[in-house]
Symmetry: C2
Subunit: 347 residues, 2 copies
Amino acid sequence: MWNAFINEEEENERRVKRVTIRDVAREAGVSITTVSHALSGGGSVKQETRERIRALAKSMNYMPDWSGQNLKSTQTGVIGLYIPYIRGFYGLLADSMYVKCQEEGYELDVVIAEKGETILRNLLSHRVDGAIILNHGFSARNAEIVRNAEIPAVFLDRELVGPLVSNIRFDSYQTGRMAAEYLYELGHRRILLVEGSDTYDGNERRRGFLDYLEEKGILQGEDYQIPGGFDREIAHRSVERFLTKRLPMPTAVFAANDDSAIGCMIALMEAGYEVPDDVSIIGCDNIELSQWYVPPLTTIDTGVADMGRKAIEEVAALIREEHSGSTMTTEGRLVERASCVRLASGR
Amino acid sequence: MWNAFINEEEENERRVKRVTIRDVAREAGVSITTVSHALSGGGSVKQETRERIRALAKSMNYMPDWSGQNLKSTQTGVIGLYIPYIRGFYGLLADSMYVKCQEEGYELDVVIAEKGETILRNLLSHRVDGAIILNHGFSARNAEIVRNAEIPAVFLDRELVGPLVSNIRFDSYQTGRMAAEYLYELGHRRILLVEGSDTYDGNERRRGFLDYLEEKGILQGEDYQIPGGFDREIAHRSVERFLTKRLPMPTAVFAANDDSAIGCMIALMEAGYEVPDDVSIIGCDNIELSQWYVPPLTTIDTGVADMGRKAIEEVAALIREEHSGSTMTTEGRLVERASCVRLASGR
DNA sequence: CTGAAAGCGCTTACAG
DNA sequence: CTGAAAGCGCTTACAG
C-alpha cells in the first residue's frame, strides 16, 4: 500500500498520468464494470449512480482509451477516406463526405497517402470501420487483399465488387463522348486531345472521346493526342511543344480536366491565339476556378458532391451489412460557358 | 480440441476471420513473442527465422491490430490535423503538412470537425501522438484541458503555451496594418473594412487595420466596418446592404480574406462600379483564385505552406520532448496585382 | 536465440 | 443494480 503511493509520486514527476477507467472507479467507489456501463449507456445502472459517475468522469477529463475500447468492441465509428492529396477536386469530395458522415453518425478521417502500403496497413489493422479509396497508388493486388479480408470499402477509381466492396465511378467514357459530341455539333472537325494521367478516369475519358471521333470519321493522327497529366503545368508544356511542330492548327481542344484546360489556355494565349475566337476549349470537372477564369471555361460537371454523399451512404450500408457490394455510376453534365464557340462555316 | 475445430468452422461461415499474431505463430511453429520480435525488428531473432516469419506474415496478409499494438506501446505514429473544413485555404495547409510529415516519419490524419467535443475525444483517447488545431469550434476551456493532459499540440489560432503545447500564428495584427498602410500610401483616405469572422485572425486583422487608420486620423464611423465572415456570400450581401445606405462612397476596400474580397468585387461590379477604377480592393491569404480573377486581386500572402511545415516540425519536436512549448509567428507578404490603384489626386 | 507470462485499458457475459 | 473475471491482440521484461 505504502509502496503504491511512492510509485505514484514518482510517476507524477515524469509525466502527467493518463486517467483510466480504474481511476474513475476508485474515485467513485464502484467497480470498473459499473463505470463502463454508466458511461456507455449499456447495462443497468441505478440512474443516480450513472449520473454521479458521468459527472465525475467529466470533471476528471476522463476519456476511454481508444485502443482499450476498440480491442474489445471492434467498432471504431470512423470512416477513412484515402486520397493522394487534398487541393481542388479532392477537397470538394472530402467536404461533401463530411456532411454525410455527420448524418450517418460516423467520424471522417481523411488520410493523405501516396503509398498503397500505408492504406493497406490502415485497413488491415482495423483503424477504421470502412474505407473510401480514390488513389492511383493503390494497386489492384492490394485492392484484392481488401476484398478478401472483407473490409467494407467503396472504390471510386476502379471496377471492383465483393461481398463488402462496392464501387462508384464517374461514367468517364460517357464524359469523353459528351465532350466530343459537343464540339462536333459546334462544327469542329480538327480537335486536339489533351490526355489525363494513366488512371481509370483518364483512360476512359480518352477512350470515349476517341471512339466518338472515329465513329464520325474525324479521328486525327497521334500527333493530336498529347499528354496533360491532369496537371496545369504539364498541359502547358505539352501544348507549347505541340505548337512548335507547326501542324495544321486545331479549331478546338478537349482537355481531360479543368486544370489542364487552363494550362492549355495559358499556352495558347501566350502563343498569340485567342480563346475561343481562334480555338475553342472544353474541360472536365467544373472546379471552382472554371467559372471565374477569363474566358469562363466550358466544362463537364462530374457531380463530385453528389458522388461524395453516395459513397458515404454506401460504405455505411456495407458496414452495417445491409446489402452486399455492387457497381454504381454517376453521369456528367455539360456546363456551357464562353470558352467554346460554333465554328464559322467554311473555315 | 474437437470442439475448437467446430467453433472455428462456425466462425468462418459468418465472416472472414481476422488473422492475428497467434495465427502467424501457429503457422510458423514459433511463439507469438518471436513473431512480434521478427516483425518489429526488435529483440534478437535468428536472421533466417526472421525472414521466414516476415515472408509468411506477408503471404497471410497479416497486419498487427492497431488497438492491440497501441495499447502496449502508446505510440501511434500519427499526427492529427483538426480543421473545420477542407476547401481552399485549409486544403493548402493540409497538403503542405503532409509533405513535412513524410519527412518526419509520421502519418497525417486530417479530421474535419466542427464540434470541439470530437477533437477532445480524439486527443484524450490517444488516437494520435500529437495534434495541430485550427478550429474556432474548439473552446478555450477544451484547449486548457489539452494543455493540462500534456498532449503534444500546436495551436494555429490562439496564443497558448504549455510544457507540450506551442502556438504558431499569422501575425494578423501586422497584416491588418500592412493593408491599411498600403492603401494609405496609395492616397486612399475613405476606406471600407469588410471584417472577417469572430476568430483570432479575424479580430487581429481588424484591430491592426483600424489602429493604423486611427493613427493617421482617417478612421471612419462604424458604418464603414461591415461584416464579411471570411465568406464570399456573406461579403456579397453585406456590400449590397452597405450600398443601399448611400453613404459617401469609399475609394478603397480592405476585405479580411480573399474569399470575401471576391464577394465584394462581385457586389460592386453588379452595382455598376469598376474595380480598380472606382474602388480599389485588397484582400488577404493569396488563395489560388486570386491570381486568376479579373482583375487579379492584390492581397497579402500569409505563407500558408510555410506555416504548415513549421507546425509539423514543431509538433514532432514536442512529441519527442526535444524542447517545451513556445510561441511563434509568421509574417505576411504583400502581393501587388491589379485590383488597387493610386488615387487620382484631388478626388 | 526463443518462449512463458504479465499486463496495457477496456467490454462483456455471467453470477450474485 | 453491482462486481469479479475472462479476454480482446499485442509488447515487453525476464528466464532459460
